[in-house]
Amino acid sequence: MFMKRILFICLLAAVGSLSSLHAQDAARPLPAVTLQNLEMGKVSSADFQNDGKPIIVSFWATWCKPCIQELITIQDIYPDWQEETGVKLIAISIDDARNAAKVRPFVEGKAWEYEVYLDVNQDFKRALNVVNVPHTFVLDGKNNVVWEHNSYAPGDEEHLFEIVKAVANGQPLPLH
């Protein structure tokens, strides 16, 4: 019995040391998950690219008011952001089969200019450990997650842009 406990503790220690061995500050590469674009084609998140410039990945749903608020607010200033940093915003809809077919008319009806993908069974949401929507990630030029934020309050987009500018210029990320 005692030996069994010792062995188990050794196993836990191995897990613990393994977690601390990997560089804690290493950026997280974007997981490769199959998504659907609005033209019904399959796209892998591993193929997201923006010529080395930053990417914003924003999870949203047609029933999530704060998500829509965030994307409407950013749409108004998106051309300015693109001009200054070359950033691209990729909006991932977690709508399931109930609303997935309405995402394209919804997005066009609001005249959004983002790249929109459907995460129909929420595989991408689970792979990125998203709990609630909205959840927004900023990726550097190599598709590593360097910043994330859960929730949206009016005014958050200003800090989001500070982060994007810092990533575009290779500077350390500003704190709030």
């Binding site: 033209e39 029933w63 999530c64 077919a101 919804f106 066009e108 009806g109 309050a153 200003e158």
Partner: protein
């Protein structure tokens, strides 16, 4: 290596399993040790640069219950309920593994009662070129889900994951195949051995025609075809009737796209499947879904038609409510985000209904008289769900016959709603909604206790205004009203929310059932809530009485159960 002198190997197990069983008698601990051994093995790659990464997320919701006889809240002897989970994912190159630990001591009110903790979800996945294999617990969807969909929704307490093996492959460009076999997780059960009695196995193939032929890849018309088959095996233990042990469901789908036009159609049939839900009839089931849309910049139009007849399909023919469903038949109604419109939710009647839904969304251009300085978006949605016209058959075991179209006048549910959103200035914007509901409440009789003498007719208005006070301070308030003479009567709701971006928010809201026929039931559902949002973490606490439903407060939308008392919710990702 002969382990027999050291460990008594039982007849049905391998030496490895025997060793593990001996060292770690508890199953949950064994699962964790399995992952630990795996990680330690992976750690042998210490000499190499990439050790992999561990990421995770967690959520803990706790509630202290006050006795509340006014809303008929049941007794809660423990006084405190909590639902929590911790999810970990390990990735290294082509390898991925994960576990989720869940704990209920006991579950919050409004969920299936459970007491205990364990690891109901654990898997390992390997992906390389054309191979993608998952062993353990997984979620999967075929097409629109009418044949198979396993998913989880923490806020609803729903998780019908499959425990088994799944193989996915993309052998040639444009062709995707999936095969799976397993048993389903049962409600909120924490024990791995406590799975569904039936075995589920399925296969799905999808073909993106344009991707397979280089000449077609650049043409405007895009075609996608799909087919799926799922079968459930469950032993027949009925002493009287002969029940089919293998029940299969077949599906085919088509997706056509050209420019702004999109058409999706899926049909499915199920062979005879006598079950508790359909009262043990042998009638086959069928479902049909057609979705068409047209989109261009500033305009989106969509139309849907759905018909379902006896399509309830589970991994246990005796299961009811939300337990052990294998397929997904969503309600063809608009999913509402404001509180009072969610007073009338619709759940698909798997036993039979047909539905129509149309929606048009339009953005009135900015700098026009009607559009204002920033533009105005308008959305109109109409959904109507009708009963099928059923005629019972002479032989009761055949169930009934029904023509393709039901009667237009037997309305199950109707929802007509209009939404107008406008930004008036840099600091002020508003949304206005008008909704009209009409539904047959006898379908929910067991839940509400109301008789079917008349349909519920309700008119709801919502006004949501947001004012940027200065810099990062924002004040938002909502006024909602629901007028109805049926069910519980009219409601009024007000909400005030103050946010100091990005971190702090405080809100208070009250739903008042002022129109209730019984004066003693004219209650206020008042809640005060506040919270902190750090980039990766969120803490929210509240006090008061709250109705179940979607709640969009403090910058996120969550599904919440009914509650009275102090609530605390902590969540984060790392």
């Amino acid at each position: 290596m002969n382990l027999n002198p050291i460990v008594a190997v039982r007849g049905h197990e391998t030496p490895c399993q025997a060793l593990l069983r001996c060292f770690l008698p508890k199953v949950e601990v064994r699962s964790f040790a399995w992952l630990a051994i795996f990680l330690m093995g992976a750690g042998n790659a210490f000499a190499q640069a990439d050790l992999g990464q561990i990421h995770g997320n967690f959520q803990a919701d706790a509630q202290v219950y006050r006795v509340d006889s006014a809303i008929g809240a049941p007794d809660f002897p423990e006084n405190l309920g909590s639902n929590s989970y911790l999810n970990l994912i390990y990735t290294r190159g082509d390898l991925e593994a994960g576990i989720r630990y869940e704990a209920y001591y006991p579950t919050l009110q409004g969920y299936t009662r459970q007491m205990g903790s364990g690891i109901p979800y654990r898997y390992a996945r390997y992906r390389h070129k054309v191979v993608d294999v998952t062993a353990g617990t997984f979620y999967e969807q075929f097409g629109s889900g009418m044949v198979l969909r396993t998913y989880e929704e923490w806020g609803l307490g729903f998780d019908n994951s499959l425990d088994g093996v799944r193989l996915k492959s993309n052998p040639i460009a444009g062709v995707y195949v999936t095969g799976l076999i397993g048993r389903q997780r049962n409600a909120f059960s924490n024990k791995i051995e406590d799975l569904s009695p039936g075995i589920v196995r399925g296969a799905d193939a999808e073909w993106e025609v344009n991707a397979s032929f280089p000449r077609l890849d650049s043409i405007k018309t895009r075609v996608k075809l799909g087919a799926s088959f799922v079968s459930r095996y469950q032993k027949d233990e009925d002493p009287i009737q002969i029940l089919p042990e293998n029940v299969g469901i077949y599906g085919a789908r088509l997706n056509l796209l050209r420019g702004g036009f999109n058409l999706f159609a899926e049909v499915a049939t199920k062979i005879n499947d006598p079950s508790t839900v359909n009262n043990l009839i042998y009638k086959p089931g069928n479902a049909m879904l057609v979705q068409a849309s047209y989109s261009q910049k500033g305009l989106g139009v969509s139309f849907e038609f759905k018909r379902i007849d006896n399509m309830d399909f589970r991994s246990d023919r005796a299961a009811t409510f939300n337990n052990l469903t294998v397929n997904f038949l969503p309600a063809q109604t608009k999913q509402h985000t404001y509180r009072l419109p969610t007073l009338f939710p619709w759940a698909t009647q798997a036993m039979g209904e047909w539905a129509l839904q149309g929606e048009i969304a339009y953005k009135i251009k900015k700098d026009t008289k009607l559009g204002g300085p920033y533009g105005t978006t308008v959305a109109l949605n109409i959904s109507r769900i009708n009963a099928l016209d059923k005629t019972p058959t002479v032989d009761p075991f055949d169930g009934y016959t029904t023509p393709f179209m039901g009667k237009m006048d037997s309305v199950f549910f109707q929802d007509i709603n209009l939404e107008i959103t406008r930004k008036f200035s840099k600091s002020f914007k508003a949304t206005l909604q008008f909704l009209h509901f009409n539904y047959d409440q006898s379908l929910f009789k067991q839940l509400t206790g109301f008789s079917a003498s008349e349909n519920v007719v309700a008119d709801v208005q919502v006004l949501d205004m947001s004012w940027k006070v200065k810099g990062k301070h924002n004040l938002r308030w909502e006024l909602q009203h629901c007028y109805t003479r049926q069910e519980f009567g009219s409601w009024a709701m007000a909400l005030v929310e103050y946010t100091f971006a990005p971190k702090f928010f405080v809100a208070a809201f009250d739903e008042y059932n002022y129109g209730n026929a019984e004066e003693s039931k004219r209650l206020h559902y008042f809640t005060g809530t506040a919270g902190v949002n750090l980039d990766n973490y969120r803490i929210q606490f509240g006090y008061g009485r709250q109705r179940a439903g979607v709640l969009c407060v403090g910058g996120v939308c969550r599904l919440v159960p009914a509650s009275n008392g102090f609530t605390l919710s902590v969540s984060g990702s790392f």
